[in-house]
Amino acid sequence: MTGRTKTMLAALALAAGIAALVLVPLLLNRYGLYILSMWAIMSIAAIGLNLTLGYAGQVSLAQGAFVGIGAYAAAIITTQGWPLVAALVVAVALCFVIGWLLGYPALRVQHHYLAFVTLAFSTLAYLVFRNEEWLTKGIYGITGVPRPTLFGWPLAAPLRFYYFCLAALGIVFAGAWWLVRSPWGRAFMALRENPMRAMSLGVDTRRYTLMAFAIGSSLGGVAGVLYAPLVEFIDPTPFTLGLSLNLLMMVIVGGSGFLFGPLLGALISVLLPEWLRFSEGLYLIVYALFVMILLAWSPTGILGIVDRYLARRRARAASAARSAAMPEALP
């Protein structure tokens, strides 16, 4: 298979995937649309975490908290009558700045301490959501979060809101695709592969790591901004440490460091109760077993398995081509 046809095939697969995501929902009921919207939103948060984890090699245990910050920003701002885009700006800025402030001292001290600091932050954020009643309405939550309108076009209906989420996912995905191919993205990966070498080549490692973490965090905020109008209600209970751990699992299960990894991981996690309907109440147990077995087998997740399979086939094809090209060399 030549490189050209491979690119063609990949483009075709991508087009088929997009077509399915656009067309299949036309046949779905409200539940299906809601679940798919949830998938798109969780995918955005997971793509952000994948930048931090998969490309810059930093463990963040606070992505759920950033989703919470985004969701609260959206709920508070839009219930005051402001448009969702204002919430988006606030959420992205807030998450970026908080990410920077968290990461700066943590990374100054030692590399893996970012995980501990974000763990603490995640729990603190939950306490603030719950306790600061004047701002967040506390444990009662904020009801009546409106769905947005886009250029005078109301997006309240489930199908329209799904397309809105899907479009957001498309933009974020394209942005991530561009980012990892940009010089920045290469610097991120250099950091992950060999921080010492990156430093000796003149990459300001701390700044790039921070940048990756802050951008990843603000994507968590973007996901939150969509989450609030999807559910139309926000209270602190979803944004515990559990959500952060869950997002981390999505990225690892899908395949960290692969662009499509988070999308796949989020699909498995969000549709989990559906996949495992046969197991009745046992689906969390089955999921946990699946994650353990998968990681023992392939630490790079599902896409890691696919990747290795393709690499093996390529290698076999290459050696076959080599032996075909020089028959005389053989005795």
């Binding site: 463990v59 001292p105 943590a106 001290v109 030692q110 893996h112 301490y113 501990f116 600091v117 763990l119 603490a120 932050f121 729990t123 603190l124 306490l127 306790n131 440490l241 751990l245 981390l248 699992m249 690892i252 109440g281 046992l282 969390l284 147990i285 999921y287 946990a288 077993l289 994650v291 353990m292 990681l295 023992a296 630490p299």
Partner: protein, 291 residues
């Protein structure tokens, strides 16, 4: 003054438990780079082994023995052979994620196959209390503290004095050199897993009469042990003790004198402060691995 005494006694008892759980945490990290996110569930589980044995009709002491053995076999040997060993070569992160999955697995298994309800649990320390300085100090608190401290002292003596203990230290500090010296590193690592299992089982016996046996009771405990380990020093057994006790005291004092709504936040601020200004932990030494 009386109030302060009450707070300190309570805090010390809770802190001693945190310390027991945190020690196992640091042991696993040092010998096999395992960050065990299921450590809290490891404390929750042995109590259920004991309860199951009691349900079969065994007397309490026999049930405790059964629980101990089950903990050593399942949380020690099986955990290492089935989960840790195959994953170790993949690095720290996949293993950490796998232990997160393990924690979900253990919690939900207990909920589905035993009960979602809290279960009362018999105390190995006698009930009742001791009148001291004009207040009542529960024997349970004293017993928990004494037993926890005794376990830690025995462990430290074992590590420092016995030949096996010193081999374990060597295996943790530099596995390659230890291997050259003829130390069976693999077996030493297995020993740390067994010690961890014994410690969490002891913690389970001590704390369940107060916390009650419930599938969720490991959640707060695991997090507290994690914080205690980092605050004290992630690479020191005595660090875990200091961390645990400091955490127990800080929690009670903060809830009394700062804020009850944010009582959960104070230990986290402590954690962040330690990371910023003393990343090796309160009693740890920088970048050194010892048991």
């Amino acid at each position: 003054m009386l109030n302060l005494l009450n707070l300190v006694v309570s805090g010390l008892a809770t802190g001693a438990i945190y310390a027991l759980v945190a020690i196992g945490f640091t042991l696993l990290w040092q010998t096999s780079q395992t960050i065990n996110f299921a450590q809290g569930e490891f404390v929750m589980l042995p109590a259920f082994f004991v309860l199951a044995a009691l349900n079969v009709g065994l007397p309490f002491w026999a049930a405790v023995v059964v629980g101990m053995i089950a903990a050593l076999v399942l949380l020690g040997v099986t955990f290492k052979l089935v989960l840790v060993d195959p994953m170790l070569r993949h690095g720290v992160l996949p293993l950490a994620i796998a232990t997160m999955a393990l924690s979900i697995f253990l919690k939900d298994s207990v909920k589905e196959f035993y009960s979602a309800e809290a279960q009362a649990f018999p105390s190995i320390v006698p009930e009742g209390s001791l009148a001291l300085f004009g207040t009542q100090i529960p024997l349970q608190s004293i017993g928990v503290f004494v037993l926890a401290v005794a376990a830690v002292v025995v462990l430290q003596q074992f590590l420092a004095r016995s030949s096996t203990g010193r081999q374990m230290q060597a295996a943790a500090q530099n596995p390659t050199v230890a291997r050259i010296l003829g130390i069976p590193v693999e077996r030493m690592i297995l020993y740390t897993f067994l010690i961890n299992a014994a410690l969490v089982a002891l913690a389970s016996l001590l704390i369940t009469p107060i916390y009650l046996a419930k599938f969720t009771s490991g959640e707060t405990l695991g997090l507290a042990a994690f914080i205690a380990a980092i605050v004290g020093g992630f690479n020191q057994v005595r660090g875990a003790i200091v961390g645990g006790v400091v955490l127990g005291l800080v929690d009670n004092l903060a809830a009394t004198y700062v804020s009850t709504q944010y009582r959960g936040a104070i230990p986290l601020f402590l954690l962040i402060a330690v990371i910023l200004w003393r990343p090796q932990g309160l009693v740890g030494r920088a970048e050194e691995r010892t048991v």
